[in-house]
Symmetry: C2
Subunit: 181 residues, 2 copies
């Protein structure tokens, strides 16, 4: 459990960040396989800080804005490494679109076509973004030891999104042929 803690520790292991920056990074880079809300993030930051795994650098005001920057402590690093070595426990996914597809003989084919078109568009965007990320990463592959690993993650996203798109195109075709019956 406590997965949110490890995302935070992981990101802070690269560089000090504010809560807001952590959230933005997750939304931007982890979007296709992870999500966090502020309501989870800020309390977890506080808890990690209380337990001495991360450190709150004195809040300072930058151009009038208050911000708290956190950085990881050796204890946090230890904890992070320990987690990385443990077997992967949870793989939680809930794809509502598949649930609806499963029961879709109860509604008009047009309805499902609409749902899948939305799904398709959304993952087309993801795929574009991932391809962009890949080409940027490939150019700076040797500039940080984690770049090759991040590239593997991006590659996962590309493969899976391609599968999503292929499926949705085929399924739209199938539903259209059903609708015209």
């Amino acid at each position: 459990m406590r997965q949110t803690e490890y995302v935070i520790l992981g990101l802070l292991s690269e560089s000090p960040l504010t809560g807001y920056q952590i959230k933005r990074t997750i939304d931007l880079r982890f979007r296709f396989f992870w999500n966090e809300s502020y309501g989870q993030l800020y309390p977890t930051l506080k808890s990690l800080s209380d337990r001495g795994l991360i450190e709150e650098q004195a809040m300072f005001v930058k151009e009038g804005r208050a911000q708290k920057t956190y950085c990881i402590k050796p204890e946090g690093f230890k904890e992070l490494r320990n987690w990385l070595e443990q077997p992967v426990e949870r793989e939680s996914l809930r794809l509502e679109i598949l649930l609806k597809m499963y029961f879709s003989n109860l509604v008009a084919a047009e309805t499902m076509i609409g749902h899948i078109e939305t799904f398709n568009k959304s993952h087309q965007k993801d795929l574009q973004w991932l391809k962009q990320a890949r080409s940027e990463l490939e150019q700076v592959l040797d500039q940080h030891p984690n770049h090759p690993y991040i590239l593997r993650v991006v590659d996962f996203g590309i493969k899976v999104n391609k599968a999503y798109l292929k499926w949705s195109r085929e399924t739209i075709e199938f539903l259209k042929s059903e609708a015209s019956k």
Copy 2:
């Protein structure tokens, strides 16, 4: 929200079932895109029943075992159809393996190889099961109006699992080449 309610309504729309059978069906057929626990299931059954969307057929004892069979009511069907027509809201996934991969420059390559081999084996099993399900479905495609739709869901699983397996094979290769450096 209230996604658990719709899984239950969906399954009961096909045939009356007991709580245990619902759980087993989800574990068996939805495993690759959904999961539920008893702690979620039984209270939700009660709530649906209290609200008149499903009906508890008088508990009866079959071969010494007490069991409650639930069946869907017209109100439940209406609710289910309404949900099916709403846009798909949530697609929640959290793939811990990708999180670990992202930060894996902090641990030995062998550690990640182990994690990914486990991931690979688990999805090999899923793929086998899905292929089996596909061939069984293809033979009874016209025996129930929802079979073609279920086949689309199974096809999703096959495509995605193939992508998972391709990724994990490639990533293991990459990590092995890193380890030997």
